[in-house]
């Protein structure tokens, strides 16, 4: 019958397809290629818009800034990158003078005459930072230098009303004194200023390239960095190659004791160490995990729910994985998760109520359910690893104590939750956020408080917070730079929404101390004030603290020099691949 013939043909085609598919691609072992993965969409390659971790990491492969973090030093330390050395700072702490390295060239690109990249000069930084301040561009790192550099705010304000922004106008606080000398003048002391020069927002771009590509500049990255990306597309795979005109930069010798062997092994080697860099974008956990196990990715952070199969109860690596040459790295992250109160509501001005709710919250179980018991219970807002955190401090409102919670609730005037309205809890719309909300709801039900969980997209949640349409919400904060100021500002009154202080906590005593500390250089006195602030942030219970998370990373044996960090911009240039080992290990997978 005719139909059977058609059937046969289709079956044949289908089986051919399957057999074609069966020869999945073999890995190329002739050259050193890094296979990395990111868990979210990369937005584009314009430094001034790189406000999320993923985009800023990509930007930092191509672009460079004046400063960088020492790769092998902890606590985090700044080091010169495109600057010749750390800047000269004037006695009043307001003038910073940088010498720029000579002989640094932009990558070759058709935007330059003859397609040859020109030398980087001090004027490029003046241009790049003006771009960040350009009111027409709305750069996302503006908050970092807003109100800090003399004359820059005036320049921004002036041109926000006009059609064309004039970059040639000289700004008092931002000048190139000569070809290689750059001078910043601050309008007030800002001890965190240097950190901003290690953030991708302030990395050097070339005016010619920006003007040549116009609005498409974000897809044509041309920097001075170790890797070249010819064009950025939305492909789920970005392929970088080694920059052939990269200046001589050798593996850093500065190191903490724990990384001594890495420093020794690589001493004097030219960077970058690999020929090629492939960045894969995989948003779901399962494909990331499976691709890593197949050896298609060099390292991944462990998805929460693969944790049990990968890590043994005593934080070792499961045998099956260890046999394949896979190893495990655990490192603390500079962050804090919390549940915020809306302090604009009279209800939450009641400190006893806040304390009661904090005591009803079961942080231990939460840690177990959502972080596999790997996170550190947060006693206050500043995470371990930076000055201001008190390692031995135990908050009186941390451990779950239902009896005490109930009595505090009664003292607050709401015995057994009577008289309290149903409280809304807003959260982002990921599965884990929803489950955390449900967990919070259950905890509060134990002392008679009714909570309703509402899921939102991230912008919706932001909008609700800005418009004060929230009562309580679950959220986290990751460090922009390693300084307690970045965390304490979350509770600084004048920083209220739409600033970073979404809860609207406003305590005069706290505000005054914070203001004082924010003008101080890094000294023991400042640390003492930070600690005092941190203690207040715990006892006042302006928010209910969750945890400081830890990063669990698994890597294959062939990946060399991997060091876990909170500021991984630029990391790829230090990584290396052992091709012989890779060939051996791939056979075992």
């Amino acid at each position: 019958m005719g139909k059977l013939k058609v059937f046969g043909k289709l079956t044949l085609v289908a089986s051919m397809l399957v057999s074609f598919a069966a020869c999945t691609k073999k890995q190329n072992l002739d050259e050193k290629v890094l296979n990395l993965v990111v868990a979210s969409e990369v937005k584009g390659m314009d430094p001034i818009y790189a406000n999320d971790l993923y985009s800023s990491n990509e930007v930092a492969r191509v672009y460079e800034g004046l400063l960088e973090y020492e790769y092998l030093k902890r606590p985090y330390t700044l080091a010169p990158n495109l600057a010749e050395s750390m800047p000269e700072v004037s006695a009043d702490g307001l003038t910073y003078t940088f010498k720029i390295k000579a002989g640094v060239f932009f990558q070759d690109d058709k935007a330059f005459p003859n397609g040859k990249g020109r030398e980087l000069v001090a004027e490029d930084f003046v241009y790049s930072i003006k771009r960040l301040a350009d009111p027409k561009l709305q750069g996302l790192g503006w908050w970092m230098i807003d109100g800090k550099i003399a004359g820059l705010n005036e320049w921004r304000d002036k041109y926000s009303k006009e059609d064309v922004v004039d970059y040639s106008e000289t700004i008092e606080g931002l000048k190139a004194l000569d070809r290689y000398t750059l001078q910043f003048k601050l309008s007030k002391p800002f001890p965190q200023f240097l950190y901003s020069l290690a953030m991708p927002f302030t990395f050097a771009v070339a005016k010619e390239v920006v003007e040549f590509y116009g609005k498409e500049f974000l897809n044509h990255p041309v920097g001075t960095g170790p890797f070249v990306l010819p064009v950025f597309t939305q492909e789920k795979r970005l392929t970088y190659t080694k920059n052939p005109t990269f200046r001589k930069k050798t593996f850093p010798s500065e190191h903490s004791e724990e990384f001594a062997s890495i420093a020794k092994e690589n001493a004097g080697k030219d960077l970058p160490l690999v020929e090629k860099l492939v960045v894969n974008i995989m948003k779901e956990d399962q494909p990331r995990w499976l691709n890593f196990q197949k050896g298609n990715l060099d390292f991944i952070s462990i998805p929460k729910d693969n944790f049990d199969s990968a890590v043994t109860p005593d934080n070792g690596l499961a045998d099956t994985l260890a046999k394949k040459g896979i190893s495990l790295l655990i490192s603390p992250q500079l962050d804090v998760t919390y549940v915020a109160f809306n302090h604009d509501m009279d209800l939450f001005k009641n400190k006893k109520l806040r304390q009661a709710m904090a005591l009803a919250y079961d942080s231990k179980t939460s840690n177990k359910l959502f972080y596999n018991n790997t996170a550190m219970s947060a006693q206050s807002i500043v995470p371990p690893g930076i000055a201001g955190n008190m390692p031995n401090y135990v908050s009186p409102f941390r451990e779950r104590d239902l009896e005490k919670a109930k009595s505090l609730l009664a003292e607050a005037g709401f015995a057994d939750g009577k008289g309290l309205p149903e409280i809304t809890y807003d959260c982002p719309n990921s599965t884990v956020s929803r489950q955390q909300g449900e967990f919070f709801m259950k905890n509060m039900a134990d002392i008679g408080i009714k909570v309703k969980v509402i899921q939102n997209t991230w912008p919706e949640l932001q909008k609700k917070i800005d418009k004060r349409q929230v009562q309580m919400w679950g959220i986290a904060w990751g460090a922009d730079y390693p300084d307690a100021e970045n965390f304490l500002q979350l509770l600084y009154g004048p920083n209220r929404s739409p600033g970073a202080n979404g809860s609207g906590f406003n305590n005069p005593q706290f505000n005054e101390l914070f203001k004082k500390a924010s003008l101080m250089q890094d000294t023991p006195e400042r640390t003492a004030i930070y600690e005092k602030l941190n203690r207040m942030a715990s006892e006042e219970v302006p928010i209910i603290y969750g945890v400081h998370r830890q990063k669990y990373t698994m890597k294959h044996g062939w990946l060399k020099n991997y060091v876990s960090t909170d500021f991984d911009a630029g990391q790829a240039m230090y990584l290396d691949v052992d091709l012989t080992k890779k060939a051996e290990d791939l056979d075992k997978l």
């Binding site: 779901e284 956990d285 399962q286 995990w289 998805p303 929460k304 729910d305 693969n306 944790f307 049990d308 199969s309 177990k368 359910l369 982002p428 719309n429 990921s430 599965t431 884990v432 929803r434 489950q435 449900e438 967990f439 259950k442 039900a445 309703k452 969980v453 509402i454 899921q455 939102n456 997209t457």
Partner: protein
């Protein structure tokens, strides 16, 4: 054709659609074992849904009954979820959301779809143009976008889910009904009915509607199960039902749980969904066989 022939045709068609049709249908339904079982299953789900709404059963679904992620055992047939709640109770409680989403959505879609499709196909002309304009407008907006927009406006929750799914799914039915009505309008028996002077509503309801009704029945069963399944996608996007268990949120949980070997939540929700969807479809088929006038008395 001559009037005599037309009368014959009309009487033949009308006869087959007399009220005995429904008796016949009922008889053939109860004599069909699969249909009977399906009906029983659907009724059980409906009863379970009503009982959970009124709080008679599964009211204590939010109680912890064991440790986190306990595997299925005699005590907990489907194990426990991340908070140690009984997955079985959650599944039962989820019936409420599934049945109401399926039912309300399908009803909304059928009412709008049949009314507009029938009128458009039958009257043609300006009326048809207007209705086609209206549904083209709706159908050209992808469901997912309409859904996002509706949740922006209405907030999150069951009503938004009903509205979004109902307002997006009637169009297909409307289109099919319209096409069928156009086809039947040209058929001999309707033309014959016109020849002997039948009124519009009489022709539509007595002659055309029964001939397109099997489409409604099949579409109803499809809409019902599509709605139940769509709830899963909505939950994946975080746009679904909040604050109470639904099969969608349970399956969304499973996305993370499967890798650690926790399969029971997925299994329980999928099984519950599987059975009711299967029953609905088989029932739809049986209804079709029983109701379709053209099939009656054949095979």
């Amino acid at each position: 054709m001559s009037v005599a022939v037309a009368e014959k045709l009309v009487s033949k068609e009308s006869h087959s659609q007399s009220k005995s049709l429904w008796n016949h249908a009922w008889e053939s339904l109860v004599s069909d074992k699969i249909a009977l079982i399906s009906m029983v299953i659907v009724s059980i789900y409906a009863i379970v849904a009503i009982l959970t709404v009124t709080g008679v059963i599964a009211a204590d679904w939010s109680q912890e009954v064991g440790a986190s992620y306990e595997a299925p055992s005699a005590a907990h047939i489907f194990g426990t979820d991340i908070f140690g709640r009984s997955v079985l109770l959650k599944t039962i409680k989820g019936t409420e959301v599934a049945m109401s989403v399926g039912f309300v959505t399908a009803i909304v879609a059928v009412v709008i779809g049949v009314a507009l499709g029938g009128v458009a196909g039958y009257f043609g002309g300006k009326v048809d143009d207007f209705i086609v304009w209206f549904y083209t407008m709706f159908s050209s907006i992808p469901n997912i976008m309409l859904l996002v927009a509706i949740t922006f406006i209405m907030g999150r929750g069951l009503v938004a889910v009903y509205m979004a799914l109902g307002l997006t799914t009637w169009v297909n039915l409307c289109r099919l009904i319209r096409a069928e009505v156009i086809r039947h309008k040209e058929r001999e028996y309707v033309q014959a009915a016109t020849a002997i002077g039948g009124g519009h509503s009489r022709k539509m309801i007595k002659h055309i509607l029964p001939n397109v009704f099997h489409i409604v029945i099949i579409q109803f069963s499809l809409l019902f199960q599509t709605a139940i399944k769509s709830e899963v996608i909505l939950s994946y996007l975080g746009l679904g039902v909040q604050g109470r268990p639904s099969w969608g949120t349970m399956i969304d949980d499973a996305k993370l749980e499967l890798a650690r070997g926790v399969w029971w939540q997925l299994a329980a929700a999928s099984l519950a969904m599987f059975v009711v969807v299967l029953a609905f479809n088989l029932l739809g088929d049986a209804l079709r066989d029983a109701l379709d006038p053209k099939l009656k008395g054949k095979s």
